[in-house]
Amino acid sequence: SSTDENGTKIRKVKVAFDQSSKPISYIDENGNPTGYDVEVMKLVDKLLPEYEFEYVGTTSDDLLLGVEQGKFQVGVKNAFWTEERTKKFIYPKEFLGLSSTGLVLKKENKEIKSLEDFASAGYTLAPIAANNAQYTVIDEYNQSHPDNKIKLKAGETFSVDVVQWVNEGRVDGGVMIEGPFKKQVEEKNGPYHHLVNDVVYNEFAVIKTWPLFNKKEQEFADAYDQAIKQLQEKKETNELSKKFYGRDLFEVLDQAKK
C-alpha cells in the first residue's frame, strides 16, 4: 500500500477477469482490458479513492483458484451465484450486472422456450466448460427435474462455437449469453450475420452476475457495495449494458434470478 497526496492510504488490489469472454470481459485489440464487467469495475475504482485496481487477465480456471488462494482480491467473469461458490468466495450484497441466458436453436426449433421444453424434446446440448456457471445452471435444472434431464456434457470453451455447431446440426442447441449472440449474429458485421435467418436465441433466464471476492476481503466487498449502489442509481450500469450487450437488461431486473 502507498499514500496519495492527501495522505490517505491507498491499497492496491488485483482484479482478475476472464480475458476471453467478449463482450463481458476481454482484452481489446490494443491489449487493454475491457468489457461490461471490467468497465463497471473501473467505475467502481473511481468511487473508491482508497483502492487502486490493477486488472489481471486470465482464464476462468485460474481466476477461480487465484481468487480463492488470494492471488487476486476479486474476480469478474460473468459469475452466477451458486451454493458451492459461497463456501469459497464472498459474494457482496449487490450484484454486478445482469446476464440474459438463453438457448441458441435452429429456426425450426424456435418453439423451444425453456429448459423443460428442450429436455422433453430429447435434444443434445453443446458442451459447456465445467467451471462455467452455465454448467451449474443446467446441472441445477437437472437436479430439480430428475425425470426430465438435459444431456449435459463438459467441454472446453475454445473448441465450442455454439452458433456454428447449432446451425450445422452438430448439436441441437447451446447455452449462450445474449450479448455475444447479438454481436455474432444480429449485428451487421458480425461473423455469423449470414445465419441471422437460420438460428434463434431464446432467452430462458435473466441471471444476476457477481464479482467474487476472496474470503478475507469482507471490507473490500463492503466498499464495493457502496460504490455499485451509487452507479446503479446513476444508471451508469444501464448505459454499459446497452453498450456491451446492445440492450438495457436492467429493464427486466424484476424477473432476474439471483
Binding site: 476471453s20 476481454y26 487477465g57 486470465t58 482464464t59 480456471d61 485460474d62 488462494q69 461473423p191 449470414h194
Partner: protein
Amino acid sequence: MEKYFDASYIFKSIPMLLPFLKVTFIVTGLSVMFGTILGFILAMGKIGKGKIARKIANGYTTALRCTPSIVLLFLVYYGVPALLEKFSVQTSNVDKIVFVVITFSLQFGAFMSEVIRSAYESVDKGQFEAAVSVGLSPFQAYRRIVFPQAFVVAIPNFGNSLLELIKEGSLAYTIGLIDVMGKANLIIASNYNAHALEIYLALSIIYWIISIVIEQVFLKFEKGFSKGKQSLKST
C-alpha cells in the same frame, strides 16, 4: 463448409500472433537453461556409483515421463503456492510465467538427463582409457576427449527435446499465459469463438515453420560439430 471457412482470417491473424512468439521464446529459453542444469545433475546421478542417487534420478525421470504436461502444469501452478503458503510464503505477486517456466524446466530436466546419459554412454570407454594412457588426468580426459564427442551425439536429441518443449509449452494457455497459443485464443474470443479453425491453422503454420527452422539449424550444428565422428558401423 464455405459458409464457415474464410481463409483471409489465416493471413489476418498471423501478424497479430507473431509478436507473442516472444513470450513463447522466453518460456522456452529459460526452461532450456534451468532444465539443462537439472538434466546434468540427474544424469550425474544416473551415471555415478551412488545407488540412492541413481534410484532418485531414475524415479524422477519415470514420474515425469508419465505425467502429461498439462497435469504437471496445474500441479505446479496450484500446488506450489498451496505448499508455499504452509510456510507462509506469499506467491500472489509471482507472475504466472514463473510457474510455466518451473513446470517446463522440471520436464525438460527429465528429457535432458536421458539425452545426456545416453550421449555420455555412447562414447566408447576406450576413448577415456586412451586419454589417460597418454598421461591426461581423468578430468582432462573427460573435458577434452569424452565430452566433446558426447556433445555431438547429444545434439540431435537435444534438438528433438527442444521441439517437444516448444510444442508442450503451448499448453501454458490453460493457465492464461498469453504466448502465441494464448493470443490465438484471445483472437478467437474476440471473434466470439467464430473462425477458430482459421486461427488454429495460422497457429499451426507458425509452429511448423519454427520446427522446420530448428530442425535445419540442428542439422547444421550436427554437421559442423561431427568432424571426425565415426560413421555408423553396421552391427
